[in-house]
Protein backbone atom coordinates (compact mmCIF):
# COMPACT_ATOMS: atom_id res chain seq x y z
CA UNK A 1 0.00 0.00 0.00
CA UNK A 2 1.37 3.41 -1.02
CA UNK A 3 1.21 5.86 1.88
CA UNK A 4 2.26 9.47 2.41
CA UNK A 5 2.10 11.97 5.27
CA UNK A 6 0.93 15.49 4.40
CA UNK A 7 1.35 18.58 6.59
CA UNK A 8 -2.18 19.83 6.28
CA UNK A 9 -3.37 23.27 7.40
CA UNK A 10 -6.62 23.01 5.46
CA UNK A 11 -5.75 25.99 3.24
CA UNK A 12 -5.88 25.82 -0.54
CA UNK A 13 -2.19 24.96 -0.97
CA UNK A 14 -2.07 21.97 1.38
CA UNK A 15 -5.49 20.79 0.16
CA UNK A 16 -4.24 20.96 -3.43
CA UNK A 17 -1.09 19.03 -2.45
CA UNK A 18 -3.27 16.36 -0.82
CA UNK A 19 -5.58 16.25 -3.87
CA UNK A 20 -2.64 15.76 -6.23
CA UNK A 21 -1.20 12.98 -4.09
CA UNK A 22 -4.60 11.32 -3.66
CA UNK A 23 -4.48 10.46 -7.36
CA UNK A 24 -1.51 8.14 -6.87
CA UNK A 25 -1.48 7.10 -3.19
CA UNK A 26 -3.73 4.59 -1.41
CA UNK A 27 -3.62 6.23 1.99
CA UNK A 28 -2.84 9.83 3.00
CA UNK A 29 -2.09 10.83 6.59
CA UNK A 30 -3.21 14.47 6.85
CA UNK A 31 -1.46 15.99 9.86
CA UNK A 32 -2.71 19.30 11.28
CA UNK A 33 -1.10 21.17 14.13
CA UNK A 34 -1.98 23.68 16.81
CA UNK A 35 -0.12 25.50 19.58
CA UNK A 36 -0.50 28.61 21.75
CA UNK A 37 -1.36 31.46 19.43
CA UNK A 38 -3.01 29.30 16.77
CA UNK A 39 -6.79 29.36 16.97
CA UNK A 40 -9.20 26.79 15.53
CA UNK A 41 -6.77 24.24 14.02
CA UNK A 42 -9.87 22.00 13.80
CA UNK A 43 -11.02 24.18 10.85
CA UNK A 44 -8.81 21.92 8.71
CA UNK A 45 -11.59 19.29 8.95
CA UNK A 46 -13.68 21.28 6.47
CA UNK A 47 -11.46 20.38 3.53
CA UNK A 48 -10.76 16.86 4.77
CA UNK A 49 -14.49 16.23 4.35
CA UNK A 50 -14.36 17.65 0.81
CA UNK A 51 -11.34 15.49 -0.05
CA UNK A 52 -13.15 12.39 1.26
CA UNK A 53 -16.18 13.27 -0.85
CA UNK A 54 -14.02 13.49 -3.95
CA UNK A 55 -11.51 10.65 -3.43
CA UNK A 56 -13.21 8.31 -0.97
CA UNK A 57 -12.13 7.29 2.51
CA UNK A 58 -8.39 7.10 2.01
CA UNK A 59 -7.53 9.94 4.42
CA UNK A 60 -6.40 9.64 8.01
CA UNK A 61 -6.67 13.05 9.68
CA UNK A 62 -4.89 13.83 12.93
CA UNK A 63 -4.65 17.13 14.83
CA UNK A 64 -1.64 17.45 17.13
CA UNK A 65 -0.78 20.05 19.72
CA UNK A 66 2.90 20.95 19.26
CA UNK A 67 3.04 23.70 21.88
CA UNK A 68 5.60 21.98 24.09
CA UNK A 69 7.72 20.98 21.09
CA UNK A 70 7.58 24.48 19.57
CA UNK A 71 8.67 26.04 22.86
CA UNK A 72 11.50 23.53 23.27
CA UNK A 73 12.75 24.07 19.71
CA UNK A 74 12.58 27.87 20.14
CA UNK A 75 14.65 27.89 23.32
CA UNK A 76 17.05 25.05 22.51
CA UNK A 77 20.61 26.45 22.93
CA UNK A 78 18.96 29.85 23.22
CA UNK A 79 21.81 31.96 24.63
CA UNK A 80 24.33 30.54 22.21
CA UNK A 81 21.92 31.09 19.33
CA UNK A 82 21.26 34.63 20.52
CA UNK A 83 24.96 35.35 20.35
CA UNK A 84 25.37 33.73 16.93
CA UNK A 85 22.13 34.57 15.16
CA UNK A 86 20.55 37.48 17.07
CA UNK A 87 17.08 38.39 15.87
CA UNK A 88 16.84 35.28 13.68
CA UNK A 89 15.62 33.64 16.89
CA UNK A 90 12.42 35.61 16.28
CA UNK A 91 11.62 33.89 12.98
CA UNK A 92 8.65 32.38 14.77
CA UNK A 93 6.93 31.12 11.61
CA UNK A 94 9.99 29.09 10.66
CA UNK A 95 10.36 27.68 14.18
CA UNK A 96 6.65 26.84 14.30
CA UNK A 97 6.86 25.03 10.98
CA UNK A 98 10.04 23.27 12.08
CA UNK A 99 8.21 21.93 15.14
CA UNK A 100 5.45 20.66 12.82
CA UNK A 101 8.05 18.97 10.61
CA UNK A 102 9.76 17.36 13.60
CA UNK A 103 6.39 16.04 14.80
CA UNK A 104 5.67 14.80 11.27
CA UNK A 105 9.04 13.06 11.11
CA UNK A 106 8.35 11.38 14.44
CA UNK A 107 4.92 10.33 13.12
CA UNK A 108 6.59 8.82 10.05
CA UNK A 109 9.03 6.89 12.24
CA UNK A 110 6.15 5.68 14.42
CA UNK A 111 4.06 4.56 11.43
CA UNK A 112 6.84 3.38 9.11
CA UNK A 113 6.12 6.04 6.46
CA UNK A 114 8.84 7.00 4.00
CA UNK A 115 7.25 9.95 2.19
CA UNK A 116 6.18 13.41 3.35
CA UNK A 117 4.69 16.33 1.43
CA UNK A 118 3.26 19.75 2.18
CA UNK A 119 1.75 22.80 0.49
CA UNK A 120 4.89 24.98 0.50
CA UNK A 121 4.70 27.55 -2.30
CA UNK A 122 7.38 29.83 -3.76
CA UNK A 123 5.18 32.92 -3.38
CA UNK A 124 5.47 32.95 0.42
CA UNK A 125 9.25 32.90 0.30
CA UNK A 126 10.03 35.20 3.23
CA UNK A 127 8.81 32.39 5.49
CA UNK A 128 11.77 30.07 6.21
CA UNK A 129 9.80 26.87 5.56
CA UNK A 130 8.57 28.16 2.19
CA UNK A 131 11.87 29.44 0.79
CA UNK A 132 14.07 27.17 -1.26
CA UNK A 133 17.00 27.38 1.17
CA UNK A 134 14.80 26.44 4.13
CA UNK A 135 13.16 23.62 2.22
CA UNK A 136 16.57 22.21 1.29
CA UNK A 137 17.51 22.06 4.98
CA UNK A 138 14.24 20.31 5.81
CA UNK A 139 14.72 17.88 2.94
CA UNK A 140 18.18 17.01 4.28
CA UNK A 141 16.69 16.45 7.75
CA UNK A 142 14.13 13.98 6.39
CA UNK A 143 16.75 12.27 4.19
CA UNK A 144 18.84 11.46 7.27
CA UNK A 145 15.95 9.25 8.38
CA UNK A 146 15.28 7.71 4.97
CA UNK A 147 12.21 9.85 4.30
CA UNK A 148 11.58 11.70 1.02
CA UNK A 149 10.11 15.19 1.39
CA UNK A 150 8.39 16.86 -1.57
CA UNK A 151 6.44 20.06 -2.29
CA UNK A 152 3.90 19.20 -5.02
CA UNK A 153 2.52 22.75 -5.40
CA UNK A 154 5.75 24.71 -4.94
CA UNK A 155 5.73 26.12 -8.48
CA UNK A 156 2.03 26.90 -8.68
CA UNK A 157 1.01 30.50 -9.29
CA UNK A 158 -0.32 32.75 -6.59
CA UNK A 159 -3.90 34.03 -6.89
CA UNK A 160 -4.78 37.66 -6.27
CA UNK A 161 -5.09 38.11 -2.53
CA UNK A 162 -6.96 40.79 -0.72
CA UNK A 163 -7.56 43.86 -2.79
CA UNK A 164 -8.57 47.33 -1.71
CA UNK A 165 -12.30 46.67 -2.07
CA UNK A 166 -12.03 43.75 0.36
CA UNK A 167 -10.24 45.89 2.88
CA UNK A 168 -12.81 48.65 2.90
CA UNK A 169 -15.41 46.10 3.90
CA UNK A 170 -16.90 44.98 0.60
CA UNK A 171 -15.61 41.44 1.06
CA UNK A 172 -18.88 39.52 0.86
CA UNK A 173 -20.19 41.34 -2.20
CA UNK A 174 -16.83 40.98 -3.85
CA UNK A 175 -16.59 37.26 -3.04
CA UNK A 176 -20.03 36.61 -4.49
CA UNK A 177 -19.17 38.45 -7.69
CA UNK A 178 -15.56 37.42 -7.92
CA UNK A 179 -14.49 37.02 -11.52
CA UNK A 180 -12.48 33.84 -11.53
CA UNK A 181 -11.42 34.24 -15.13
CA UNK A 182 -9.07 37.03 -14.04
CA UNK A 183 -6.86 34.75 -11.95
CA UNK A 184 -3.61 33.54 -13.38
CA UNK A 185 -3.55 30.02 -14.88
CA UNK A 186 -2.33 27.14 -12.69
CA UNK A 187 -3.19 28.26 -9.15
CA UNK A 188 -3.93 25.71 -6.43
CA UNK A 189 -7.47 27.13 -6.26
CA UNK A 190 -7.98 26.45 -9.95
CA UNK A 191 -6.72 22.89 -9.53
CA UNK A 192 -9.20 22.33 -6.70
CA UNK A 193 -12.13 23.67 -8.73
CA UNK A 194 -11.12 21.53 -11.71
CA UNK A 195 -11.13 18.49 -9.41
CA UNK A 196 -14.56 19.49 -8.09
CA UNK A 197 -13.36 20.07 -4.53
CA UNK A 198 -13.89 23.84 -4.27
CA UNK A 199 -16.71 25.77 -5.92
CA UNK A 200 -14.68 28.94 -6.41
CA UNK A 201 -11.04 28.98 -7.32
CA UNK A 202 -9.98 32.25 -5.75
CA UNK A 203 -10.84 32.15 -2.06
CA UNK A 204 -7.57 33.49 -0.63
CA UNK A 205 -8.21 36.22 1.91
CA UNK A 206 -11.97 35.62 1.93
CA UNK A 207 -14.33 34.47 4.67
CA UNK A 208 -14.36 31.00 3.06
CA UNK A 209 -10.58 30.84 3.43
CA UNK A 210 -10.81 31.83 7.09
CA UNK A 211 -13.37 29.10 7.77
CA UNK A 212 -11.18 26.31 6.45
CA UNK A 213 -7.94 26.92 8.30
CA UNK A 214 -6.58 28.10 11.63
CA UNK A 215 -6.04 31.76 12.53
CA UNK A 216 -2.62 32.86 13.77
CA UNK A 217 -1.20 36.29 14.64
CA UNK A 218 2.20 34.92 15.65
CA UNK A 219 3.48 35.86 12.23
CA UNK A 220 3.38 39.52 13.34
CA UNK A 221 6.69 39.20 15.15
CA UNK A 222 8.27 37.30 12.30
CA UNK A 223 7.13 39.88 9.76
CA UNK A 224 8.26 42.75 12.00
CA UNK A 225 11.73 41.23 11.98
CA UNK A 226 11.94 40.06 8.36
CA UNK A 227 9.90 42.60 6.42
CA UNK A 228 10.09 45.57 8.79
CA UNK A 229 13.65 45.37 10.01
CA UNK A 230 16.12 42.93 8.44
CA UNK A 231 15.32 42.84 4.72
CA UNK A 232 15.02 46.65 4.31
CA UNK A 233 18.35 47.04 6.12
CA UNK A 234 20.47 44.17 4.80
CA UNK A 235 18.62 42.91 1.73
CA UNK A 236 16.88 39.68 0.83
CA UNK A 237 20.02 37.70 -0.01
CA UNK A 238 21.49 38.34 3.42
CA UNK A 239 18.16 37.36 4.98
CA UNK A 240 18.09 34.09 3.05
CA UNK A 241 21.67 33.30 4.02
CA UNK A 242 20.90 34.08 7.66
CA UNK A 243 17.81 31.89 7.62
CA UNK A 244 19.77 29.02 6.10
CA UNK A 245 22.57 29.26 8.68
CA UNK A 246 20.16 29.51 11.59
CA UNK A 247 17.98 26.58 10.48
CA UNK A 248 20.94 24.41 9.52
CA UNK A 249 22.19 24.80 13.06
CA UNK A 250 18.75 24.20 14.61
CA UNK A 251 18.09 21.14 12.47
CA UNK A 252 21.52 19.66 13.20
CA UNK A 253 20.83 19.86 16.94
CA UNK A 254 17.28 18.55 16.66
CA UNK A 255 18.45 15.67 14.46
CA UNK A 256 20.53 14.42 17.39
CA UNK A 257 17.34 14.17 19.44
CA UNK A 258 15.46 12.60 16.52
CA UNK A 259 18.17 9.95 16.26
CA UNK A 260 17.72 9.26 19.97
CA UNK A 261 13.95 9.08 19.41
CA UNK A 262 14.45 6.52 16.63
CA UNK A 263 16.49 4.36 19.01
CA UNK A 264 14.22 4.89 22.04
CA UNK A 265 10.74 5.98 20.93
CA UNK A 266 9.24 5.55 24.39
CA UNK A 267 11.75 7.57 26.40
CA UNK A 268 14.13 10.49 25.95
CA UNK A 269 13.65 14.22 25.55
CA UNK A 270 11.79 14.23 22.23
CA UNK A 271 9.38 11.48 23.32
CA UNK A 272 8.28 13.77 26.16
CA UNK A 273 7.85 16.71 23.78
CA UNK A 274 5.65 15.03 21.21
CA UNK A 275 3.10 13.16 23.22
CA UNK A 276 0.33 15.72 22.75
CA UNK A 277 -2.62 14.81 20.54
CA UNK A 278 -5.78 16.91 20.58
Amino acid sequence: MKEVAVLFSGGTDSTAAAALLAQSYDRLHLLSYGHSGIFRPENSRVNVALLRERFGDRFVHEVFDVDRLFRWITYLDYWENLRRFGFFNLTTCGLCKLSMHVRTLAYCLEHGLSEVADGANRHMSHFPAQMREGLDELRAMYERFGIAYTNPVFDYDSPDGLDWSHKVGLVREKEANRDDSETKPRTTGRLLTELGILERENVKGTETDRRMQARCFQLTLHNAFALGYYIPRYGEDAYRRGVQRFYRRKIARISEYLEDFRQHPESGVLARMIDQKT
Binding site: T74, L82, F87, L90, V168, G169, F217, Q218
Partner: protein, 57 residues
Protein backbone atom coordinates in the same frame (compact mmCIF):
# COMPACT_ATOMS: atom_id res chain seq x y z
CA UNK B 1 12.85 56.19 13.43
CA UNK B 2 10.80 53.14 12.37
CA UNK B 3 13.92 50.95 12.41
CA UNK B 4 14.91 52.28 15.82
CA UNK B 5 11.44 51.51 17.19
CA UNK B 6 11.46 48.02 15.64
CA UNK B 7 14.93 47.30 17.02
CA UNK B 8 13.76 47.87 20.60
CA UNK B 9 10.48 46.06 20.03
CA UNK B 10 12.38 43.03 18.71
CA UNK B 11 14.95 43.24 21.49
CA UNK B 12 12.16 43.23 24.05
CA UNK B 13 10.47 40.23 22.37
CA UNK B 14 13.77 38.37 22.26
CA UNK B 15 14.08 38.50 26.06
CA UNK B 16 10.55 37.34 26.82
CA UNK B 17 9.80 33.84 28.07
CA UNK B 18 7.53 31.58 26.03
CA UNK B 19 4.01 32.40 27.21
CA UNK B 20 4.71 36.12 27.52
CA UNK B 21 6.10 36.18 23.98
CA UNK B 22 3.03 34.44 22.59
CA UNK B 23 0.74 36.91 24.41
CA UNK B 24 2.90 39.88 23.38
CA UNK B 25 2.75 38.82 19.71
CA UNK B 26 -0.99 38.16 19.92
CA UNK B 27 -1.47 41.64 21.37
CA UNK B 28 0.74 43.13 18.66
CA UNK B 29 -1.37 41.34 16.06
CA UNK B 30 -4.59 42.78 17.47
CA UNK B 31 -3.11 46.29 17.66
CA UNK B 32 -2.15 46.05 13.98
CA UNK B 33 -5.57 44.65 13.10
CA UNK B 34 -7.12 47.55 15.01
CA UNK B 35 -5.01 50.11 13.17
CA UNK B 36 -5.87 48.52 9.82
CA UNK B 37 -9.51 48.42 10.86
CA UNK B 38 -9.57 52.14 11.69
CA UNK B 39 -7.69 53.00 8.50
CA UNK B 40 -10.00 51.01 6.25
CA UNK B 41 -13.15 52.12 8.09
CA UNK B 42 -12.11 55.73 7.44
CA UNK B 43 -11.40 54.94 3.80
CA UNK B 44 -14.78 53.27 3.46
CA UNK B 45 -16.50 56.27 5.02
CA UNK B 46 -14.73 58.61 2.63
CA UNK B 47 -15.61 56.41 -0.33
CA UNK B 48 -19.29 56.28 0.64
CA UNK B 49 -19.44 60.04 1.09
CA UNK B 50 -17.80 60.60 -2.26
CA UNK B 51 -20.26 58.20 -3.91
CA UNK B 52 -23.21 59.98 -2.24
CA UNK B 53 -21.87 63.34 -3.30
CA UNK B 54 -21.51 62.15 -6.90
CA UNK B 55 -25.03 60.69 -6.87
CA UNK B 56 -26.42 64.01 -5.56
CA UNK B 57 -24.70 65.89 -8.37
Amino acid sequence: MKRFFLFFLLLFALLLPWRARVLFTEGLGWVLQGLYGVYFALMRLLLKNLERKRADE
